[in-house]
């Protein structure tokens, strides 16, 4: 228990510090604590349900809608966060989650629009296609690393640009663009069939969909794999010290490749959740760098699958709710600022370790 607290403290303390600093920043820049409080309350209600409005005689939608938006973002952040975290565990730094997400999203959009199947099968096939797409896109860097020693940071980051140019600058605006009647423009690919949409858990009231369940399941599964299975243990051993692992008979190359495949598949699934959950087509551009946010989620979550889930739930909420701060004159990118600052503080792990040593020192111990 104490170990868990010690591991989680840097993240929790960083997030809280970041929130307080940003609160004060709004207060200073936007004319007082009052505005800052209004803005932060608006963000909270926008993230976790507008309870004041609900109790003021509003409909349940006041609570369920914001929850749906938060869950959608949290699901994507969880999956990209897990993608980065799983690569971390074998000692690889997969910066290519964005590219893998783009490829996965496109695969989901194409299968969703191009194939006709019964609902359950269709959704499963789209998810499978997205996971396969993301995994295949991560396979290249994994093989290069394994057989040629090419550093995965270089290869994955370059492949991000390849994916972006290939998908958004050519396929989506060219051969795969939806057709319309007359001179009207549609942004992106053709709309997916209704059977390919991730089921909405609450009907039309909210966009809350099965994506969040998928994300939670993925986090739990990954946690079990890493802690309860031999394969997962081998991955961790490779991450801790590849030479020692090799000496003890672990096939390090295979661990690299299989972990990268899982990493790519998770990022691909994140893309699928975006397309099948809310967008229903590959839009002209995926504006958000969710793949890079995944790095933040992995670091703030301390590389632990459940930590990633927790941090994604929080920041998914803050980012969905943060839009409302605009009503109080706060810039649209403010939630990202909170996240960035928290990340910066987490990086100062040594500082927090000192703090935690002092706070959690066993009584009577040295």
């Amino acid at each position: 228990m104490r170990e868990t607290a010690r591991a989680a403290l840097p993240s929790v303390a960083s997030v809280i510090t970041s929130l307080v600093v940003c609160f004060l920043a709004v207060a200073v820049l936007r004319g007082g604590l009052e505005v800052a409080l209004d803005a932060f309350l608006a963000m909270t209600w926008g993230a976790f349900g507008d309870f004041p409005r609900f109790f003021d005689g509003g409909t349940s939608a006041a609570v369920l809608r914001p929850l749906g938006e938060s869950a959608t973002k949290a699901a994507i952040l969880t999956l990209t966060g897990l993608s980065v975290a799983v690569a971390f565990r074998v000692g690889l730094f997969n910066i290519g989650a964005q590219g893998q997400l783009i490829v996965g999203a496109l695969a989901a959009a194409v299968v969703g629009a191009g194939v006709e199947l019964p609902t359950a099968l269709h959704v499963a096939l789209c998810l499978l296609a997205a996971a396969a797409g993301g995994a295949l896109y991560a396979l290249g860097p994994a093989l290069l690393k394994r057989y040629r020693g090419v550093h995965e940071v270089i290869s994955t980051i370059m492949l991000n640009w390849v994916a972006l140019s290939l998908v958004e600058n050519w396929l989506v605006t060219g051969p795969l663009r939806a057709t319309t009647t007359g001179d009207n423009s549609i942004a992106g690919t053709a709309q997916i069939h209704a059977s390919a949409e991730l089921p909405r858990l609450l009907g039309d009231v909210s966009r809350l969909n099965a994506g969040i369940l998928l994300a939670i399941a993925a986090a739990v599964a990954l946690w079990l794999w890493l802690t309860r299975f031999v394969g997962g243990f081998q991955w961790r051993a490779v991450g801790a010290n590849p030479e020692a692992a090799r000496a003890s008979g672990v096939n390090v190359g295979r661990a690299f490749i299989s972990a990268m495949l899982v990493s790519g598949a998770l990022a691909g699934l994140a893309g699928a959740v975006l397309i099948l959950g809310t967008e229903q087509r590959y839009p002209a551009t995926i504006g958000a760098p969710y793949g890079f946010d995944g790095i933040a989620m992995a670091l703030i979550g301390n590389g632990h699958p459940l930590g990633v889930l927790a941090s994604a739930l929080l920041f998914g909420g803050l980012r969905a709710g943060g839009t409302r701060m605009q009503l109080f004159g706060v810039h649209k990118s403010f939630p990202e600022l909170i996240q960035g600052l928290a990340l910066l503080l987490v990086a100062a792990r040594l500082m927090w370790m000192k703090v935690s040593d002092r706070l959690l020192k066993p009584k009577g111990g040295p």
């Binding site: 604590l33 006041a62 973002k73 600058n169 057709t179 009207n184 549609i186 551009t285």
Partner: protein, 378 residues
């Protein structure tokens, strides 16, 4: 530390009460919401034009440091073109602008503005089409204005909703005049730089080609698409290429890429080449006064203001509308540069404008119509 936090909460709590008291102050009669696309505030063209219609023309307010300040009447007047000064009157309203960070935020942002009790919600850009459709269906009591696209069903066919007004522009008509002027200024070659190769931008291209064909049938039109709307460098590259191939006038419909186009033309002029640029959406002459011949202005601001004015006068109607030269939806910005034969050239363009408004000339809006286009005698 704990004491400091407690103190802060107390102070904040105290402040909260005073804000409740402030809510009792009289409110403007109307609240008008606006949701931008990803481009957002400060794009120098499309979103800014819509924001101008709402904030300056209607609300007479300027957005500074996160809040609205009343704008001096003279400042407001200066931001309205001469031809519209008498018509565009202020409306007492509270603007409520929400910018979109990412694609999937369009729908919650629109819903947020609806929940704030907005009487009219403006969705800026065809990218918001799906979101406006979904939110309008769920909030039958709210009124919407969608810019640049009709509501489309899943198959891409237009449909109408009882609480949504949509405005599209006949960009081809303004582009036709730009082409006509380019044909008169240039001798042999003119260039067109498009952003994404989508039907909307094809309208600009078709109109421009038809205009060039009308005034200078022998001229060659070189066309390039950048594939993006947010890559200034790419726009510059493409335009430099066109200038090197001998284009004397380059027209762009490429969003932010276009500022690169204008930059390239400006540099070519500085190096001694006689070449002009034609801007798009807003009057872009301030970007390079010596190089920008004119701009094909799209009056998104007018469309937004008109919807607000109709709402104030209880005359807001849903349905699709189209704004071309006749309705003042597109127009050429004033030509302030001098070139040989300017007076005759402008007179010819004016005559063509009259012909389009009267319906004597129908400007093609796509490649197919362009093939069958017969240039009017002039």
């Amino acid at each position: 530390m704990r004491r400091a936090l407690l103190l802060m909460l107390l102070v904040a709590g105290g402040c909260k009460k005073s804000s409740d008291a402030k809510d009792a102050a009289p409110k403007p009669a109307l609240t008008v919401g606006l949701v931008t696309d990803i481009g957002g505030r400060g794009d120098q063209s499309f979103n800014d034009s819509a924001l101008r219609g709402l904030e300056v023309w209607a609300a007479s307010a300027s957005f500074k440091g996160g809040r609205y300040e009343a704008m001096a009447p003279a400042t407001r007047e200066a931001m309205i073109p001469a031809a519209l000064k008498a018509r565009v009157t202020p409306v007492s309203l509270k603007p409520l602008v929400v910018q979109s960070k990412v694609q999937e935020d369009y729908q919650p942002n629109l819903q947020l503005v609806v929940d704030q009790g907005a009487d009219l919600i403006v969705g800026v850009g065809f990218a918001l089409e799906n979101a406006v459709e979904a939110v309008a269906k769920q909030n039958a009591g709210a009124k919407f204005l969608l810019i640049d696209s009709p509501i489309l069903d899943a198959k891409g066919a237009p449909q109408t909703l009882p609480n949504v007004r949509t405005v599209v522009f006949r960009e081809q008509e303004g582009s036709f005049l730009a082409g006509a002027l380019a044909g008169l200024v240039a001798k042999q070659k003119v260039g067109f730089v498009g952003g994404m190769e989508i039907p909307l931008i094809k309208k600009f291209e078709a109109g421009f080609r038809a205009g060039v064909k009308t005034t200078n049938p022998g001229a060659q039109v070189l066309v390039q698409y950048t594939g993006t709307f947010d890559n200034v460098q790419h726009g510059k590259q493409v335009a430099t290429d066109l200038v090197a191939k001998g284009c004397e006038v380059v027209f762009h419909a490429a969003g932010s890429d276009g500022t690169g186009v204008i930059q390239a033309v400006k540099e070519a002029r500085a190096a001694g080449k006689p070449v002009f640029a034609i801007g798009v959406d807003s009057d872009q002459s301030h970007l390079a006064p010596e190089a920008v011949l004119t701009s094909m202005v799209k009056r998104v601001d007018l469309a937004v203001w008109q919807a607000i004015k109709d709402l104030e006068g209880k005359a807001f109607s849903a349905g699709d509308s189209v704004m071309g030269l006749k309705e003042g939806g597109v127009t050429l910005a004033e030509v302030t540069l001098d070139f040989p034969g300017k007076a005759e050239a402008l007179a010819k363009v004016k005559a063509l404008e009259t012909a389009i408004i009267s319906g004597a000339v129908v400007v093609p809006s796509n490649e197919k119509d362009l093939e069958g286009f017969v240039a009017p005698a002039n």
